[in-house]
């Protein structure tokens, strides 16, 4: 009941934050931060994804263990995808 996820205003606020972050991504593309470029872009993208998963998809506050298990296994498989792919990129003979 004390869930803050119930009011429409709350969702609108999350939506606005997402829009602002999109704006930040676009404007950051015009500033060259060198090696920080991808880190910033991916950082913002991860934040946005987190907001969507936690609030729009109601994962925050879900009492079900099953929901947590589903989210964790999805993250786990994402790490497999990134990790094993990087195992190739990190050790390839670039010439």
């Amino acid at each position: 009941m004390s869930e803050h996820g119930t009011s429409i205003g709350f969702y609108v606020m999350i939506f606005l934050i997402l829009l602002v972050l999109t704006g930040v991504t676009v404007s950051a593309a015009f500033i060259n931060l060198g090696p920080l470029n991808p880190i910033l872009a991916l950082g913002i993208a991860t934040t946005k994804a987190l907001l969507v998963v936690l609030f729009f998809m109601h994962v925050k506050g879900a009492s079900e263990k099953l929901v947590k298990l589903v989210v964790l296994s999805a993250v786990f498989f994402l790490l497999i995808l990134l990790g094993l792919t990087l195992s190739d990129y990190a050790t390839r003979l670039w010439s």
Binding site: L81, S87, D88, R92
Partner: protein
């Protein structure tokens, strides 16, 4: 007036409850949706088969005389895309899984009946897009869409084919989602996890792959389309991209996808082997968990498709080891099926013949997979007919054998009619012989060095004998596939009415009527027995015997 044992036509069931096209197109009954899928995938199976026939006819002679090079490229591409995405991936889950998952766990329907119908419509939309793509020119990249050819060079309909597969992918995701939720939530009282039929475990594992893998291939194909139209530079080296990134992303889904095709088949084989040797599956827990192990380990081996593509040799070494590891859970299953047969009272009805066929063909497919996982051998046989033979032994030999076995086993339940057993055994034999004749010569051809995807081998006329054998086999195989279709259709009208449990099989689905009523069970079942309690079933029941004093 319920008449449990009345004549078949008079009992109300899911088939005769309502009539008319609308009652089918708007149905949310999982059993009717299963039949909608059955008709649609059969249609695509014949389209894919038609392309295969043309491929085999072209290879009958060394010269490229039947079709032109471009046409040939399109033929094997459309053959692969149709067979993989529009036949094999939906085949068992969307037809038999749809029909049986709720029945086997004692539920009235799937958890989301309308999403189930939506998944069929998505499949049809994707299928129509694919048909349109084929009729207006098709694609020539191979079913694998490899970049940079697909993004920068070919002028065929990549974007359209990609979108078709994207849409069909969502139908597959929805099926998986439905199964996971249903298996968690809708089990009848007493149907604990350790009492689930192995068919359910296999479908649970399959659903995990569908849920976690399919989004990756969907996005990857969208990236190909985006790069083609907007020149983004993700995969194209000229724009700073990496073509191998495409292969990583594609196979991250597409290796596990081979388990989407084979796991449900393994589930079917477990059911059939138990029933026709009248025994509980040997090592139930191991067989159940090996399905989950396959789903997880299957995600760790994808780069064995990239061994010669230029990946790091260290990564290749790791992926080679992991590929050997994934064979272990498959072997666990094979050994346990064999152990189940030991001292069983075996009956050789048609479903069992298909199950035996599955075990033999899957074993040859799996073991040649180990050849391919060895880095040295793979260099020699990659992109040859050896690989073609390997994956056909598994996908056609294994998965389709299991599918046909399952269709025969559950046909009395689905249709309420018995199929002609003699014809069915003959068909099983024809499929088995035709299959070997088609694909065994391809192992030899590949080992001798015949490359895949060539339409003209006139510089190597000595390959013709093996190719002729293969084409001849394909004809026999075609007859073997046509036969069941004919006698299944025949039995719908002329077949004897099926009793509720013609095989005297364990499993909740057999406790329902044949064909089942719309909500599957007249009273909600309560499960008090273990899975595959054949010893109990076959034991004489003293309390039921007439009392003679």
């Amino acid at each position: 007036m319920a008449m449990p044992n009345g004549p078949q036509g008079e009992r109300e069931n899911y088939l005769n409850k309502e009539y008319g096209v609308g009652s089918w197109l708007l149905t949310t009954d999982h059993k009717r949706i299963a039949l909608l899928y059955l008709m649609s995938i059969t249609f695509f199976f014949f389209i894919g088969g038609f392309f295969a026939l043309l491929i085999r006819l072209e290879l009958l002679t060394p010269a490229g005389d039947l079709v032109q090079a471009d046409t040939y490229n399109k033929l094997f591409t459309m053959h692969g895309m149709v067979m993989v995405f529009f036949f094999l991936i939906p085949s068992i889950p969307a037809v038999l899984g749809n029909f049986l998952v709720p029945m086997m766990i004692g539920a009235k329907d799937l958890a989301f009946p309308r999403i189930n119908l939506l998944s069929w419509y998505l499949y049809i939309i994707g299928g129509v897009m694919m048909l349109h793509c084929m009729l207006t020119g098709g694609v020539d990249t191979g079913w694998t869409f490899y970049t940079p050819y697909s993004t920068a060079f070919t002028n065929t309909k990549i974007v359209e084919a990609g979108l078709a597969i994207f849409v069909a992918g969502f139908s597959s995701i929805l099926t998986g989602l439905n199964f996971v939720v249903t298996i968690h939530r809708m089990r009848a009282p007493g149907m604990t996890w350790s009492r689930l039929p192995l068919f359910i475990w296999a479908h649970y594992a399959t659903s995990i792959i569908q849920l976690l893998g399919t989004p990756v291939v969907a996005i990857t194909i969208v990236l190909v389309a985006a790069e083609r139209t907007l020149h983004l530079g993700i995969f194209d080296p000229k724009l700073g991209g990496d073509p191998l990134l495409f292969q990583h992303l594609f196979w991250f889904y597409s290796h596990p996808a081979v388990y989407i095709m084979i796991l449900p088949s393994m589930g079917i084989v477990s059911e059939i082997i138990a029933c026709f040797s009248r025994k509980r599956i040997f090592g139930y827990n191991f067989v159940a968990l090996s399905s989950i192990a396959i789903a997880v380990f299957g995600f760790l081996v994808w780069a064995h498709h990239l061994f010669v593509a230029g990946i790091s040799i260290y990564a290749a070494f790791v992926f080679s080891l992991l590929s050997y590891a994934v064979a272990v859970p498959s072997a666990v299953k094979t050994f346990n099926w064999t152990a189940t047969l030991y001292k069983g009272s075996i009956r050789y009805d048609a479903p069992m013949l298909y199950a035996f066929g599955f075990i033999g063909l899957f074993m040859m497919g799996g073991l040649t997979g180990l050849f391919l996982s060895a880095l040295g051998i793979d260099v020699h046989v990659t992109d040859t007919y050896f690989v073609v033979a390997h994956f056909h032994y598994i996908m056609v030999g294994g998965a389709v054998m299991g599918y046909l076995g399952g269709m025969h086993f559950w046909w009395p339940k689905i249709s309420g009619r018995l199929y002609p057993e003699g014809w069915a055994r003959l068909a099983a034999l024809i499929v088995f012989i035709g299959f070997h004749l088609t694909f065994f010569p391809q192992f030899v051809l590949g080992y001798l060095g015949m490359p895949r995807r060539y339409y003209d081998y006139s510089h190597m006329p000595e390959f013709q004998v093996l190719n002729v054998l293969s084409t001849a086999g394909a004809t026999i195989l075609g007859v073997g596939y046509l036969l069941p279709m004919i006698y299944f259709l025949w039995s719908m009208r002329y077949g004897k009415p099926a009793p509720d449990n013609p095989w005297n099989a364990a499993g909740l689905e057999w406790k329902s009527a044949s064909p089942p009523p719309t909500f599957n069970f007249d009273v909600e079942p309560v499960v008090t027995w273990e899975a595959y309690n054949y010893e109990e079933l076959d034991a004489p029941h003293p309390q039921e015997a007439p009392v003679v004093r």
